[in-house]
């Protein structure tokens, strides 16, 4: 049993937001998805106040041991999510964590309030990797911006608030400290690193949005360093992620100070990667206990 700021998890492995769509999986795999759900909690893809179509394709580029994506947060918007998705997600056998993002503090506040009041929701994750359209600053890259945001929404709910940090920042530990001081119950990292690729023939940017975010094994060592530095500086639990493919990778993040570990891109290669990583991690931890005892 893992306690993630009050959210009870069967094991420490959850999905990374935006890398697993339980509703689409039900269409592809049927109810097995519910009976054999691979994660200890389900983190929904980022929802915004208004519906979003997302970025123009192409949205994907495969890079060395990694993926660049420019999905652009397509989603049904708050109302659509609450009406259509939430009832289906309530069928999942695990706690539901809803990831939200807004372009102003008020927007985030509206989202947090409306989502938190729903009983199906165990906790919220704030995606602060986007610019504040008022200040122009990336909310999650600036400690003051992050603090102001968390202070604004903290009073709106007693449910766990997880702040998801961006790695595209000079000092993620400072941002994490600011989030904690402002009342965040946990922090999660890393989000994707800004990346780019050019069309092999035309030389123009390949991705419809020009640039995207890098994920997968290519960022594993960078993620581990940031998780370790953040965990050293905050006392709230840390959800570590970035390139996790095996139980050993998850173990490394736990050693670095993470309480839970999220599996993202690896799920694209294996839809049940979460369950496999959890299994491998469990075996590693048992082995360690045995050799420690003897």
């Amino acid at each position: 049993m893992t306690d993630l700021c009050g959210i009870e998890l069967e094991h420490p492995i959850v999905n990374a937001s935006g890398t697993w769509d339980a509703i689409a999986a039900l269409r592809a795999f049927g109810d097995d998805v519910i009976e054999r759900f691979p994660f200890a909690a389900f983190v929904s893809k980022t929802i915004t106040l208004q519906p979003r179509q997302g970025n123009p394709p192409p949205r994907l580029w495969e890079t060395a041991a990694g993926l660049i994506n420019s999905i652009g947060l397509p989603n049904k918007g708050l109302a659509g999510y609450l009406e259509h998705d939430l009832p289906v997600l309530a069928r999942l056998p695990v706690p539901l964590i809803v990831n939200v993002m807004g372009f102003t503090r008020d927007e985030v506040a509206t989202l947090v309030e409306a989502v938190a009041e729903r009983d199906e929701v165990a906790g919220l994750e704030l995606n602060v990797s986007c610019p504040n359209v008022e200040s122009g600053l990336i909310m999650g890259a600036d400690p003051r911006e992050t603090a102001a945001l968390v202070e604004r929404v903290r009073p709106l709910t007693a449910k766990p608030l997880i702040v998801k940090l961006t790695p595209n920042a000079t000092d993620p530990p400072a941002v994490a400290e600011a989030a904690q001081a402002a009342g965040a119950d946990a922090v999660s990292l890393v989000n994707t690193l800004r990346g780019m690729a050019l069309h092999p023939r035309t030389g123009e940017p390949w991705l419809g949005a020009g640039t995207g975010g890098v994920s997968g094994p290519a960022i594993r060592a960078i993620a581990l360093a940031q998780v370790a530095q953040v965990a050293e500086r905050v006392s709230v639990p840390v959800v570590g992620m970035g390139g996790v493919e095996t139980g050993a990778h998850a173990r490394a993040l736990l050693r670095a100070g993470a309480t839970a570990v999220a599996v993202g891109t690896e799920s694209f290669r294996d839809p049940r990667a979460g369950a496999r990583v959890a299994e491998e991690l469990g075996q590693l931890l048992r082995k360690e206990r045995v050799s420690a005892a003897t």
Partner: protein, 258 residues
């Protein structure tokens, strides 16, 4: 029903044979416990070992492939070597373990009342038409770059074949052959390169002929998880892997070049 649910498991089969078929490679592997797919569905495929370390250290993600044949416990794919993933698969050795996820996506729908199916394929896009042809009578028009690629047409019985360079069959584009048939009460089932499918979409649209297009798109996951494979439709972007790969031409805004 045009969608067989995939087992919720990336399963591991064994490569049985990889042989050339004209310009293409045909890969046969075991599919332990895999259910019978529907024509137009696809699989996410990756070799279990040494998947990577090709050009630019790729491939990393699995690759999407329509199935050429499925018979209890055995799958066949037809591959065109266009990059590190297809190259690695084209070099696979018998006995190698191979990861399979699928069948995925929505296949072709039954033909409409009072219409005869007309199957139109371009290049490697002929693949999903082979299992479809086994289920419905109807004409088959196949276009290829040249005679070497057109060898794959032998998989079909009496198809009408054309090549861009005239090295075999009619000299010209398959869409030219299609044009002559659009006054008949047909329903078009097409798969091929984007330019061909876009032409089919426009032609059939003008002539009011229903058409089902099996699209391709760069995919990361194949089961709706990444939102990366979208194409624009009249009601916004849809994911080719779960809402397609077969989509009604009438619903599409365009067939994207990528």
């Amino acid at each position: 029903m045009n969608r067989t649910l995939a087992p919720f498991e990336r399963r591991t089969g064994t490569v049985e044979a990889v042989e050339g078929l004209g310009a293409y490679r045909r890969l046969r592997c075991t599919d332990p416990g895999g259910p019978a797919p529907r024509p137009g569905q696809f699989y996410m495929v990756a070799l279990a070992e040494r998947w990577g370390a090709g050009d630019d250290e790729r491939p990393y993600l699995p690759r999407a492939f329509s199935y050429l044949r499925w018979a209890d416990g055995t799958l066949e794919f037809l591959l065109e070597d266009v990059g590190p993933g297809t190259h690695r698969l084209a070099e696979a050795r018998p006995g190698e373990p191979i990861h399979l996820l699928g069948p995925l996506g929505a296949g072709f729908a039954p033909v409409r009342e009072d219409r005869r199916p007309l199957l139109v394929g371009g290049g490697i896009g002929i693949v999903p038409l082979l299992p479809l042809r086994a289920e419905m009578e109807g004409g088959v028009l196949l276009g290829f770059r040249d005679a070497e690629h057109a060898v794959a047409a032998d998989l079909f019985d009496d198809p009408t074949v054309c090549t861009d360079d005239g090295s075999t069959g009619h000299h010209g584009l398959v869409t030219e052959l299609l044009d002559d048939r659009l006054d008949e009460p047909v329903e078009v089932y097409a798969c091929g390169p984007p330019a061909m499918l876009e032409a089919v979409r426009l032609m059939t649209g003008e002539r009011g002929v229903p058409a089902q297009l099996a699209l391709e798109s760069g995919m990361a996951c194949g089961f709706g998880a990444c939102f990366g494979c979208v194409v624009p439709t009249r009601d916004g972007y849809v994911r080719v892997c779960v809402d397609g790969p077969v989509l009604e031409a009438a619903g599409l805004e365009a067939v994207p070049a990528h």
